[in-house]
């Protein structure tokens, strides 16, 4: 007989073995090897997480109590598996294409990413899982107690052992399920460990069964006789329970978080379902094959009153087969631990993703920048939630007293978790299902389950006897186990019937009455018509073809050179001789990072997903891609604006440069012209003064003539210098204006008379003096200077036989416009643009001006806030002077 210490050592050894397997599997998966880890065999074996301690111990107990009823729990999943073409295929496809991480994620995703719904499903799953965890605790504790009863040292106490079992399992689950974070929530190591556990528990149960049939009963024939002769030897199953339990187990098989985890989240290839469709029912058949024989033999040989839930353990013990009992104990331990690990993993994922993280992120001020701390927070949240879940299970066990049959506890959990079914099935097959409907259905079903099953099952602490027997507040039609006055039903059938039917009704009615949000409608279409929106995934077994596709895609994004370099480096890193690397997860991750540098993270993920993962692009992906595109557009818009600004600046600079060059050229020509203009009079002055100096016999007439020439030239020089000075003063803007008031007429009068006085030439000036009564406020002398210049130009250059100058004035809205038009041949078109330039002279040197007059006029007019321009097409030379009626300082 094994002692407790040996037992604990065996347990620890087994756990270490599991750890080793999980670790090795993770290593293999990370290295991209071990394709068998993703085989359909492993997938099928991991599905047998469905068979927990309830199956291992409870099925025999159930059979001993109610005959073949136990088999319903395995017939339901069998029906689900063989109808995979209808339901599971779609569920798995949806889960994969939307990268769903849990059943709460699936439901929330389908109903427009509703976190409220996710929280509801999470709470439901946690509470529904609580009795189930308690069941595992109870079974392990019971199996310990069997060995402890026979242990002479007698140190065993049941109360504390439950606590230690719970704590141990919690630590175990934390170590196992939260070692690392994976974006897909896939855990190759855990799945492999679970597959091993499935083999262990099947082998253990088959071994006990074979021992019972051939070792105790003596063969199949005698066994059958013994079955018929036993107290459960006739078909005696309540029809209501038979149907209800088949349905319930089928529903729970799909809805249980841990089943969803292994069936959908950990699924690596849809094709595995095809194998699991027959292999998993076979597993279920094998595991239930010897249940009735063990139960019958147990009832036969065990003393009256022994717990039938433990026949699997006690029958070999009573026959003195200690090794078989130890194997059986390991099988039971194995089924309990695997269930606890995966449940804790699935539930903690849900709790951390849908409850803790949203709260934590919202307390962080909603900043989008997520630092590396988050991984730490997520892991911590998961560890704490595992501890809380185990604590809940522990308290349920203490409250329910630990005396109930295992199967009845399990069924309570099933009924709770099955409340997700309407929302799940409706979400997958009915586009009209809405978030409001799902919330209504879940709430109704959940509350009814708590009221009619969970609370009555937990004893008198939470629900007084009076409520149970006569309803709350004496309302007898609200009695928890006889709603609406319908009595006599089995409590389980009663709960399942009422909760699921009212759940479905609430779900349908609320869905029909409410209107979904756009995102919800989009997701509904994506989920219901998932086969139209996604392609059949090619699986994750890396092939070179995928690498080629990746290579082509990478070339398009990064360019041929960098893409080749990257792939070459990766291929070398993998140590392969091939030129293309195997698409291992690590390689894909690096590639994604590389690509996301160019096209954005979401786009890169979607692109690689399209080629490798076979997951279709979800709405989230599209939104993220749209975000990135918008950012890119905005960025390129900014670039465009900047480039336009630069172009503008460059143009301005070019213009400035041209202007500067022009000015520099002007300055050069000005200097040369000035020196030329100065040199001509200087030459004649020098020449005549030399004549006067060197020639002795000069007549007085000649002397006077030469001195007059010198004087004239000197005058001309002075005038030129005066003009230059005037011009430079005007141009530099340092001129001071003497603003005075007078009429235009008197200014013109003075100009005309001073020009025409003392000249031999004739010029007829035509004026409309009435129109010249325009009051002016400006520098009258300067204006007069302009007028004198224009009139004297007409006098000098007008080549008509009878020169005429017409001066006309108009008042045009605040400005006065004065036109000077003569009847000469005018200025040739080619010279018109230069007449206002310095030293510009039209028609040679005959008039003897320096060519500064019009330049000075232009400068003066600019100072006075007006302008002077040449008017083409007037018959002769025509100038227009335009100036404001009142001089304004601002006009400068």
């Amino acid at each position: 007989m094994a002692t407790l210490n040996v037992l604990i050592l065996v347990c620890l050894g087994y756990v270490v073995l599991l750890f080793g397997v999980a670790f090795a599997a993770d290593r293999l998966a990370a290295a991209g090897k071990g394709a068998w880890l993703r085989s359909s065999l492993i997938y099928t074996l991991s599905l047998s997480i469905y068979c927990t301690a309830w199956t291992f111990y409870g099925a025999v107990g159930n059979a001993a109590r109610s005959g073949l009823e136990f088999v319903t729990i395995y017939l339901g999943p069998t029906l689900v598996m063989i109808s995979w073409w209808w339901g599971l295929r779609k569920l798995v496809r949806v889960g994969r294409s939307h990268r769903v991480t849990s059943i709460a994620d699936l439901i929330s995703s389908r109903y427009g990413k509703s976190n409220t719904l996710a929280i509801c499903v999470t709470i439901l799953a946690v509470l529904g899982g609580t009795p189930y965890i308690a069941l595992q605790l109870q079974s392990i504790t019971l199996s310990f107690s069997i060995f402890a009863d026979a242990d002479p040292s007698g140190l065993y106490r049941e109360g504390s052992s439950v606590f230690w079992v719970a704590a141990g399992l919690a630590v175990f689950a934390i170590l196992f399920g939260t070692r690392n974070l994976d974006a897909n929530e896939r855990h190759h190591g855990v799945v492999t460990a679970i597959a091993l556990e499935s083999v262990v528990k099947l082998f253990a149960l088959l071994a006990v069964g074979a021992f019972v049939v051939w070792g105790v009963a003596g063969g199949v024939g005698p066994m059958m006789d013994r079955i018929d002769a036993s107290e459960i030897g006739h078909w005696n199953v309540d029809t209501g329970r038979w149907t209800t339990f088949i349905f319930l187990s089928a529903a729970a098989f799909v809805c249980l978080p841990r089943m969803f985890q292994v069936m959908v989240v950990e699924n690596t290839d849809e094709g595995h379902l095809r194998t699991a469709a027959w292999a998993f029912p076979l597993y279920l058949l094998l595991i239930s094959l010897f249940v009735v024989p063990i139960a019958v033999v147990g009832l036969d040989i065990m003393p009256e009153g022994s717990n039938p839930d433990l026949f699997v353990l006690t029958v070999p013990l009573s026959q003195g087969n200690d090794w078989l009992a130890m194997l059986s104990f390991i099988g039971g331990f194995s089924s309990a631990t695997s269930m606890v690990i995966v449940t804790a993993m699935a539930l903690s994922t849900m709790v951390s993703n849908h409850v803790v993280m949203p709260i934590w992120l919202s307390t962080q001020g909603g900043s989008g920048s997520v630092s590396g701390d988050v991984r730490h927070i997520v892991l911590l949240a998961r560890r704490i939630s595992i501890a809380v879940i185990m604590a809940l299970g522990f308290f349920y066990y203490r409250l329910s007293g630990g005396g109930a049959a295992l199967a009845s506890i399990g069924l309570i959990a099933f009924a709770g978790i099955a409340q997700i079914l309407p929302a799940l099935v409706g979400g997958l097959f009915w586009r009209g299902a809405t978030r409001t409907g799902a919330l209504a259905g879940l709430t109704v079903g959940f509350l009814l389950w708590i009221y009619t099953l969970l609370l009555p099952g937990m004893g008198g602490v939470l629900m007084p006897e009076s409520v149970l027997h006569s309803g709350p507040f004496g309302l007898s039609w609200l009695r928890p186990q006889a709603l609406f006055g319908i009595e006599g039903m089995d409590p389980m059938v009663h709960t399942v019937m009422w909760s699921l039917s009212l759940n479905t009704i609430a779900f349908c009615v609320a869905s029909l009455l409410s209107f979904p949000s756009p995102l919800e409608r989009l997701q509904a279409a994506q989920f219901v018509n998932v086969f139209d929106h996604s392609v059949a995934p090619r699986g994750w077994t890396g092939s070179v073809a995928q690498s080629e596709d990746l290579m082509i895609m990478t070339q398009r994004i990064l360019g041929a050179g960098p893409a080749h370099e990257f792939f070459q480096a990766e291929a070398e890193k993998q140590g392969g001789r091939a030129s293309l690397p195997e698409p291992t997860p690590a390689f894909l991750e690096r590639l994604e990072r590389e690509l996301s540098g160019s096209v954005g993270a979401a786009t890169a993920h979607a692109m690689i997903g399209q080629i490798v993962g076979g997951s279709s692009v979800s709405v989230e992906d599209l939104l993220a891609v749209a975000d990135e595109s918008a950012q890119l557009l905005e960025y390129s818009g900014q670039l465009e604006a900047k480039s336009a600004e630069l172009t503008r600046t460059a143009r301005q600079l070019r213009e400035a440069n041209t202007k500067l060059t022009q000015i520099s050229e002007q300055k050069d020509s000005f200097l040369s012209q000035v020196s030329h203009e100065l040199r001509t009079p200087m030459t004649s002055i020098r020449a005549f003064s030399e004549i006067m100096r060197d020639t002795d016999e000069l007549s007085p007439e000649e002397q006077t003539r030469y001195a007059a020439i010198i004087h004239d030239e000197a005058l001309r020089l002075t005038r030129l210098l005066d003009d230059l000075l005037d011009l430079s003063v005007l141009e530099s803007g340092r001129v001071s204006l003497n603003v005075g008031d007078d009429t235009l007429r008197s200014v013109l009068d003075r100009a005309v008379s001073s020009t025409l006085a003392g000249t031999s030439k004739t010029l007829t000036v035509r004026r409309t003096k009435a129109a010249e009564r325009i009051p002016l406020q400006t520098d009258l002398d300067r204006l007069g200077q302009v007028f004198i210049n224009l009139i004297s130009n007409a006098l000098k250059y007008c080549d008509a036989d009878e020169p005429e100058l017409t001066i006309s004035a108009h008042d045009v809205g605040g400005h006065v416009v004065i036109d000077f038009v003569d009847n000469g041949s005018g200025i040739p078109p080619g010279s018109r643009s230069v007449v206002f330039e310095k030293f510009a002279r039209v028609g040679g040197d005959k008039a003897g001006g320096a060519g500064l007059g019009l330049a000075i006029c232009r400068e003066i007019m600019q100072r006075l806030g007006g302008e002077i321009m040449y008017l083409p097409g007037q018959g002769g030379a025509a100038f227009r002077v335009r100036l404001p009626l009142a001089y304004q300082q601002a006009a400068q």
Partner: protein, 104 residues
């Protein structure tokens, strides 16, 4: 992707009648879809058995077990046969472009 199962993913108008191969495949799919209903019907049969508390006419447990496990094995074998057939046919189809690997 088209929504109608008989339509090829793209291109020409679908023919009204299918080749023998595709026809077989489609009927096989039908059989797979009907399997759960057959299973449910078979498992509902025990509801008709007399439930006699005096155990005079009640069905012996061994017979009940035999019936249920036989149904179970039958369903598993049917599912297995279908699974292999579907795999073989889809493998054949993969060589033919334009045929849908997964009939809807």
């Amino acid at each position: 992707m088209s929504t109608h199962e008989d339509r090829p993913p793209s291109g020409a108008r679908p023919s009204l009648f299918l080749e023998r191969q595709s026809y077989r495949r489609r009927r096989l799919t039908d059989a797979a879809r009907l399997l759960p209903f057959l299973g449910a019907a078979l498992l509902a049969v025990p509801l008709l058995w007399p439930d006699d508390p005096n155990r005079q006419q009640a069905v012996p447990l061994s017979s009940a077990m035999f019936y249920i496990f036989a149904c179970w094995v039958g369903l598993i074998v049917a599912s297995l046969v279908f699974g292999f057939a579907a795999r073989r046919m889809s493998a054949q189809d993969e060589s033919k472009p334009g045929s849908d690997q997964w009939p809807r």
